[in-house]
């Protein structure tokens, strides 16, 4: 069975993020990771491979050259091969374009099952998975918490729904996006890291996937980024002073009674 995993390299949650002078682009501190939710997808692919005979895990991302690091992380965890679709000079904010490119790759590579994280933690769009499924005309379920093999054509998944879970039976080929809680992603073993360092990761030019360059550039994007801005500055905290905890607590009670009016 062919298992395809789409991943994204994203800025670390602790990385400093600055808005550049033009207000239209971001400067991100050089700290990047495999996207949090994609780690679950890679892990689930590896677990699936142990359940299904003759499976192969292919990992792919649409990103800059740097994203090869995230692909190596996936190989270190246990993926079999990886591809980088190079977006140099084609960077766009439009998930439709990214989804089209990934779906063209999937058509070329072939697949029985596609996994990816429920959303990237940088733009938090959460749109790619469902869109790729639509472009490929296959069913999908978002934010899955459990993936069970029913037979070689059907999977039973549990998906996160507000205030509960839904159980859904899905016919393959299909796409699933992974939610936190589905598994505990492994930390790569040193042997995996060695393998990943040596792995040959082919770089693909997106214009060779059957899409025209005009379709890939910013101009065709249906969403225009106007500006980035930092959140509004919050007023400085008002410190409640006092010589003793007793005094401070007294003032706090007054505040809760008179200003916040919850007592």
């Amino acid at each position: 069975m062919k298992i395809l995993v789409f991943i994204k390299q994203v800025a670390d949650t602790e990385a400093r993020i600055l808005i550049k002078g033009d207000n239209k682009s971001l400067e991100i501190e050089n700290k990047y990771n495999l996207n949090f939710f994609d780690e679950f997808a890679v892990e689930e692919a590896i677990r699936l491979k142990t359940k299904l005979k003759d499976s192969k895990i292919t990992v792919c991302t649409y990103g800059g050259k740097k994203a090869i690091e995230a692909l190596r992380t996936a190989i270190a965890m246990g993926a079999d091969q990886a591809f980088l679709i190079d977006n140099t000079d084609l960077d766009t904010e439009d998930p439709l374009i990214t989804a089209r490119i990934l779906s063209e790759f999937a058509k070329k590579e072939g697949f029985d099952i596609i996994l990816c994280g429920r959303q990237a933690i940088d733009d938090e769009n959460g749109a790619i998975g469902a869109m790729v499924a639509e472009f490929l005309n296959i069913p999908h379920v978002s934010a899955i918490l459990k993936l069970d093999v029913k037979d070689d054509k059907h999977m039973i998944v549990e998906s996160d729904a507000e205030g509960g879970k839904g159980t859904i039976e899905v016919e393959l080929p299909a796409l699933f996006t992974t939610q936190k809680g589905i598994n505990e992603p492994r930390v790569p073993l040193i042997t995996g890291v060695m393998k990943a360092m040596k792995a040959n990761i082919p770089v693909i030019d997106p214009t060779t996937l059957g899409l025209k360059k005009e379709e890939l550039i910013k101009d065709t994007s249906k969403i225009e980024v106007l500006f980035y801005e930092t959140p509004k500055a919050r007023p400085p905290v008002k410190i409640i002073d006092g010589e003793t905890p007793q005094e401070k607590a007294k003032k706090l009670v007054k505040l809760l009674k008179e200003e916040a009016k919850v007592l």
Partner: protein, 312 residues
Amino acid sequence: MSYALIISEVRRGVFEERNLDSIGMAHLAGKDAFLLIPEGNYNLNNSIVNKIIKAKLEESLFLNPLIITELISKIIGTLGAPEIVIFTHSSSGIELASYLAGKMSLPIITDVSGYDRNEQIFFKSYYSDKVFGQFKKAKESPLVITVRSGSFKDHVTEKGKNAEEITVDGPSGIEERSFVEYVEEEKTGVDITKAEFLLSLGRGIGNKDEIPKFEELANLMKATISGSRPVIDKQWLPKERQVGTSGKTVKPKVYLAMGISGAFQHIAGMKDSECIIAVNKDPEAPIFQYAHYGIVADANKIRDKLKDLLQG
């Protein structure tokens, strides 16, 4: 006709409250609000929308992306294309919105939390609210959005008359994806997202033995107890009490944070509270950058004094 198509989120006969944010978004944008909902009796004020489109199918089929997309195609066939299709920013809303946008090649913006009516600009956050982006749709086509819970419900206004009702037939069977069952989360009666006054506890309280004393304080103040991730991970409090990106997002009237330093994952879950009061012995704790009021002191000492004052 310039209208907004609102896809309601309904589950087990309940019209979810976050639908009001979708309706509020339509009102704020100055569009006629057309609400798509499965047939059934839902607790819905039908004077806040212009039209209710009832889909003839079972509720459990409604939130299936394949079916929703077909229903929307039918609606466009009879009513023309909406200017904007609005979903809730929830697991199911994101799934449906992206699927629809992919199917019809429509522009999409998810997690919209603000809108400028004059400039027709949408706002959304990046990197857990570290940066906000402003977006405009660049092409003349319907736009698909998901809206953040709590962002637009204040813009809902009554129309003064009841909505016109029409029906649309549900599509015939979909085989590739079938709904099996819905499993409710374990209910223990506490929903921290509904509390007006949260007493939230962090690692700074020291150890699990302190919890009962905070519970006594919470009783005295009629507050509900919640906690930060370390407190949940150490099992001092149950998971349902967790505030933050891996827990729940809360917006109480008062958020009293005791012994919480304020990792940004926690901040993201509580920063929109009306009044944030932080008690922490470290004056450099990040939570003081977000709090309206701060007390630099040991949380447990303040707790004991508060208890004395409120009992006495």
